[in-house]
């Protein structure tokens, strides 16, 4: 039996290496550093990444990480997560509620966090397996057996990705384009295409490969990517809020296609 002793030991107190707020001393500690003294020169993204990993990154790495967010910030309110933001605006809910829900929605299976967490796990595992002599074909077969897909390839709406080229161009400029996991990502794409599977590397796949090359674990990368779509969301809120309430993509009755049972009498 596990027993509740572990819980009893933790009642009322939390032991932390991550940090704390000491109001009487007017200071805050962030991963072993005084936030307002030692870390006061940090950029916001740099602080976020340091909070996640506890590691420092080079300016080039941070520039790439920032670009990964910039290149996927789309202010298009038709996109499912963004649509949540616009719907919150048109129903006159708050921006924080809309954007918080939209970021939670971004933890999706076919895009966003669910796609990336599988992709980075796949790239890391496959890179290790290839180093140990396993064939790529076997790695792909194992991935299909485990997850039923190769995460990071193909795209829900179109099978091409306009974010790939500018990301690779910037990565090349920064000297970060040739990491082993990015090379693996393209090798997998070539293998899929050569074997008659028209699945191109998508942005989630590419950023996950970069995540692995940047040294992120899957959990670190998942936490880093959480706000990555955020940049496109406030514009969706603002525009829908500026229009008359309820006027963002309203659905009349005729726009709902009922396919259920015929009308019947309530039996109870």
């Amino acid at each position: 039996m596990n027993g509740p002793q572990h819980l009893q030991d933790a009642v009322g107190r939390w032991k932390s290496r991550m940090g704390g707020f000491f109001p009487a001393e007017q200071r805050t500690v962030f991963r072993g550093h005084d936030l307002h003294a030692d870390l006061k020169g940090m950029g916001w993204l740099e602080l976020c990444v340091f909070g996640i990993t506890g590691r420092r990154h080079t300016p080039q790495q941070l520039r790439l990480m920032e670009a990964l967010c910039v290149f996927t910030s789309y202010p298009d309110p038709r996109i499912w997560n963004n649509r949540v933001v616009a719907l919150a605006a048109t129903t006159r809910s708050t921006g924080a509620l809309g954007m918080s829900a939209a970021l939670a929605v971004s933890e999706a299976h076919i895009y966003g966090r669910g796609n990336e967490v599988q992709a980075i796990t796949f790239f890391r595992d496959t890179h290790q397996a290839l180093e140990a002599g396993t064939a790529l074909e076997a790695c792909l077969a194992r991935e299909m057996a485990t997850h039923g897909r190769i995460a990071g390839y193909g795209r829900p709406l179109v099978n091409a990705d306009e974010r790939i080229a500018p990301t690779m161009a910037l990565a090349a400029e920064l000297g970060l384009a040739d990491g082993p996991h990015v090379r693996l990502a393209y090798a997998v794409e070539k293998h899929l295409l050569d074997n008659g599977k028209p699945l191109r590397l998508n942005y989630g796949g590419l950023v996950s490969a970069f995540g692995a090359d940047l040294g992120f674990t899957p959990r670190e990368f998942y936490l880093f990517m959480y706000p990555v779509f955020l940049g496109g969301m406030p514009p969706c809120y603002i525009e829908a809020a500026e229009q008359p309430e309820g006027s963002f993509l309203p659905l009349p009755c005729e726009r709902v296609d009922y396919q259920g049972p015929a009308k019947r009498r309530w039996p109870l």
């Binding site: 596990n2 939390w14 001393e25 991963r31 072993g32 796949f122 009922y258 009308k263 309530w266």
Partner: protein, 268 residues
């Protein structure tokens, strides 16, 4: 010449609305799985009937409605010690929005410890093991491999206590009653086999396990059970949030922090 635009529609097997003659954005009548909600169900159907019909597509039998009604009572309030309720209270004491309190309760009540994901996993275990004790013993001793996902890895058997030394009284009471009225076989079997299962799992069945058995006895799929479990636990979170909002943050514990990596102490 521009192509005529395709009229995009939402497809549903659940809900049919007929518009008012002069306003297609206002429903004159509405049918749920074929039943006239406002014209016939209202006044005859109960909340549990509505919930069952929404998810299963058919009206419940009296026994099914009674079980769902009783389960709703069982799950309605985890009390202020419940992490999901605790989260809702954290929202309310600071004067956060009502929706954010419930979003907090949903987020914290969604996971693998006492949350919706645990119920989903437990319901999948019912699908896998059925009423065969040996299958449960195998499942509990060698849990199935988990795919990489946004969810943290499982740390205890789904549906069983993570830290319990024995079956909690309220779990025993809930299981005993629900088993006595269930039209399905799982609750009764769980009650009969609770000691053998506890031996195999290393801990006793938890409320999540009782809920999973009840939801499976009602014929819900795991994904449906996860959703219902999330919904049914919200009333208590809401009530406790409102209470703490009135009581105020000065009466709400802030707890103690033991910082293990404090630069202030190092320099002192």
């Amino acid at each position: 010449m521009s192509q005529p635009q395709k009229v995009e529609k939402v497809s549903t097997r659940i809900w049919l609305e007929e518009p008012e003659p002069t306003n297609s954005f206002a429903a004159r009548n509405a049918w749920l799985h074929g039943y006239d909600v406002y014209g016939e169900m209202l006044g005859r159907a109960r909340w549990a009937d509505m919930m069952y019909l929404l998810f299963r597509g058919e009206a419940p039998t009296k026994a099914q409605a009674a079980l769902l009604d009783a389960l709703s009572l069982v799950l309605a309030n985890g009390g202020p010690r419940d992490p999901a309720v605790h989260a809702a209270m954290c929202g309310a004491v600071g004067g956060s929005t009502a929706a954010s309190c419930l979003m907090a309760a949903l987020a914290v009540g969604a996971g693998r410890l006492g949350g919706g994901r645990e119920v989903l996993s437990a319901m999948q275990a019912w699908e896998h093991c059925g009423l065969e004790l040996e299958a449960w013993q195998r499942h509990l001793s060698t849990p199935p491999a988990e795919a990489a996902s946004v969810w943290p890895t499982t740390e205890h058997a789904a549906g069983f206590e993570a830290h319990g030394a024995g079956m909690a009284g309220i779990v025993r009471q809930a299981l005993s009653y629900l088993a006595s009225i269930s039209p399905g076989p799982r609750l009764g079997w769980l009650f009969e086999q609770r000691h053998a299962l506890a031996l195999a799992a290393g801990s006793s069945p938890a409320m999540t396990g009782v809920a999973a058995a009840a939801l499976a006895d009602l014929g819900f799929k795991p994904a449906q059970g996860e959703m219902l479990y999330l919904l049914l636990r919200l009333p208590g979170a809401a009530a406790h949030a409102l209470e703490q909002g009135e009581t105020g943050h000065k009466q709400f514990p802030f707890f103690q922090l033991d910082l293990l990596d404090d630069p202030g102490k190092a320099s002192a």
